[in-house]
Amino acid sequence: MPDVAFWQGNQAIAQGALAAGCMFFAGYPITPSSDIMEEMAKELPASGGRFIQMEDEIGSIAATIGGSIAGLKSMTASSGPGISLKQENLGLAYMAEIPLVLVNVMRGGPSTGVPTKISQMDVMQARWGCHGDHGTIAYSPSSVQECYEIAIKAFNAAERYRQPVIILSDEVLGHMREKVFVPPAGSYAVANRKRPGVKPEKFVPYLADPEDDIPPMASFGDGYRWHVTGLAHNDFGFPSAREEEVEKNITRLVRKIDRFRDDIVEYEAYEVDDADIVVVSYGTVARSSITAVKDARKRGLKVGHFRPVTLWPFPDKEIFQISKRAKTIIVPELNCGQMVLEVERAVHGRAKVIKKGLVNGEVFMPEQISSFIQEVA
């Protein structure tokens, strides 16, 4: 029997992280994500893990990377301006292939924006935010239960693919309280990073296994010596500007995610098989959309809903399949049109894509989504 808890989304992310084996958290206060940090401040010392409040957002992700280099599953969390500040070091973690989980509890932007209200304005920042090319994994939970489960999945993906993984939550979800079924330990999968199988003197830190493009990772203090750098590097981990070595380095960072795209991509399709109209939405907005879709079905309209659980990699193949039947796809999101660009890319013009943005700090009500459906029905 699972335990039943009554948690806020932010608390559920923290609890999920602990269930995944998170033993290191460094953070800096910011609305609306601080509850995650506060939960970790309470829980980590009690479980022998490490918690530290750093001097700023930049230091928080730097310390988190340090914790992971030393072998601990590590996480940091922030919102809006804090995420912008973390991007340089996020890039180092992509480049040096350091597993970590970065939670972004989205609030209104740009800049200080509307700190206490919801947005979904950071979808593209999550994909591209940090200079340079890399593969991205970003999850978008839509319930408090899912906050918990996605925290575990995010750690598993970070450990398996040896890179940062982003959780794109939002202000409403972060502060909403719901019932959570907490599975007993051992009833869910927990992944751990691949460790080197060779003796320290034979260790080549960035020599990737051809079968998965992922190099085993040693921890500092485990007898292995290696060099962590944000510079382009060769298999030995040492800086290189040689064309073939740089090319090999960067293409592998992208390829290691691309090749496992089908393993990573998650989505939830509701009544899409016979749908003429499909609403595609994610996060908190999906809750309103599903209510509206159910309502439309009651009225006899063939409407479905598709919810990307991973925003990155984007479920483009799956949306293309839907567009073979659906004539119209409605994309409500709390920005001026970000994920809709991916939807348009995915459908290749086979269906009409309608963009619906809302940026006033509120969530779409089900009636608003219903009216979007009514407009095209």
């Binding site: 230091g59 030393a70 203090g221």
Partner: protein, 272 residues
């Protein structure tokens, strides 16, 4: 030639190094490696972290657990590593811009926390790698590419900054005195708590040639001539001390160390 036990600490495949011939930083690298061998440290249990700049290329040459991180942020990375594995010896090498401009916040907070990391600040008074721009420690009046008519803003005294922020071991030496550099690094590493060892280094390429000190030797002589021991400095007026590098051990006090405090807290919480 360095001693064989020092060569063992080097990634000799990368020599000759990327520093200009005659750069002061090599003297600091040698002093650091002598300190590590004197202390019988094991490379696989020693972390050397750095940020960005000429100074920050140092870890690449040391065959230990090394991190070449982002500009100014190395102490935050080092803090994470030390907190995760307090049994490791953690040394952070920084330049003057790295430490006191872009990384100033991490520096003062590492001092405040008194975490057991040894910060070696290689102060050559200039941004060398990027081509000779003025740093927060470029002396007033000196010329730099971003101060072609001379620097007008006052310099940081990094040792006073460290002391004010709470570092429990603070010392300064100059590259013209390599034995003293080594001694302060040894004592800094042995010290339990946050140690700052500022070493006045030289950059003839970017600082010297714009300030009438053309050769490496001219630059070493410059820092030697400008250095004044703490004992001598006591009897000098502020005017006489202007532009001088006062050397010596300024702070050496015992105070609770951060990771000790943290794990005491863990024990307490677990006991409750």
């Amino acid at each position: 030639m360095p001693r064989p036990e020092i060569i063992k600490w080097l990634r000799t495949q990368f020599f000759p190094h990327m520093w200009c011939p005659g750069c002061g930083h090599g003297i600091i690298l040698h002093a650091l490696l002598r300190a590590l061998t004197d202390l019988e440290k094991k490379p696989e249990e020693t972390v050397i972290a750095s940020g960005i700049g000429c100074s920050s290329r140092m870890p690449g040459y040391i065959n230990a657990c090394t991190v070449h991180s982002t500009h100014g942020r190395s102490l935050a990375f080092a803090t994470g590593i030390k907190l995760a594995k307090p049994e490791l010896t953690v040394i952070d090498v920084m330049g003057d811009g790295d430490c006191s401009a872009i990384g100033g916040n991490h520096f003062i907070h590492a001092c405040r926390r008194n975490i057991d990391i040894t910060a070696i600040v290689m102060n050559n008074n200039i941004y060398g790698m990027t081509g000779g721009q003025a740093s927060p420690t470029t002396p007033e009046g000196a010329r730099a590419t971003t101060a072609p008519y001379g620097v007008i803003d006052p310099s940081f005294d990094l040792c006073k900054l460290a002391e004010g922020a709470g570092a429990t071991f603070v010392a300064r030496s100059v590259v013209s005195n390599p034995k003293q550099c080594e001694k302060y690094i040894v004592d800094g590493i042995k010290h339990k708590g946050f140690s700052v060892v500022e070493i006045i280094s030289t950059c003839h390429t970017q600082f010297g040639r714009r300030n009438k000190f053309r050769s490496p030797i001219d630059n070493i002589n410059r820092v030697k001539d400008l250095s004044v021991s703490q004992a001598k400095a006591k009897d000098m007026t502020p005017e006489e001390l202007k532009g001088k590098y006062v050397t010596g051990l300024f702070v050496n006090v015992e105070a609770p160390e951060y990771t000790d405090q943290y794990f005491s807290l863990v024990d307490k919480v677990k006991g409750e």
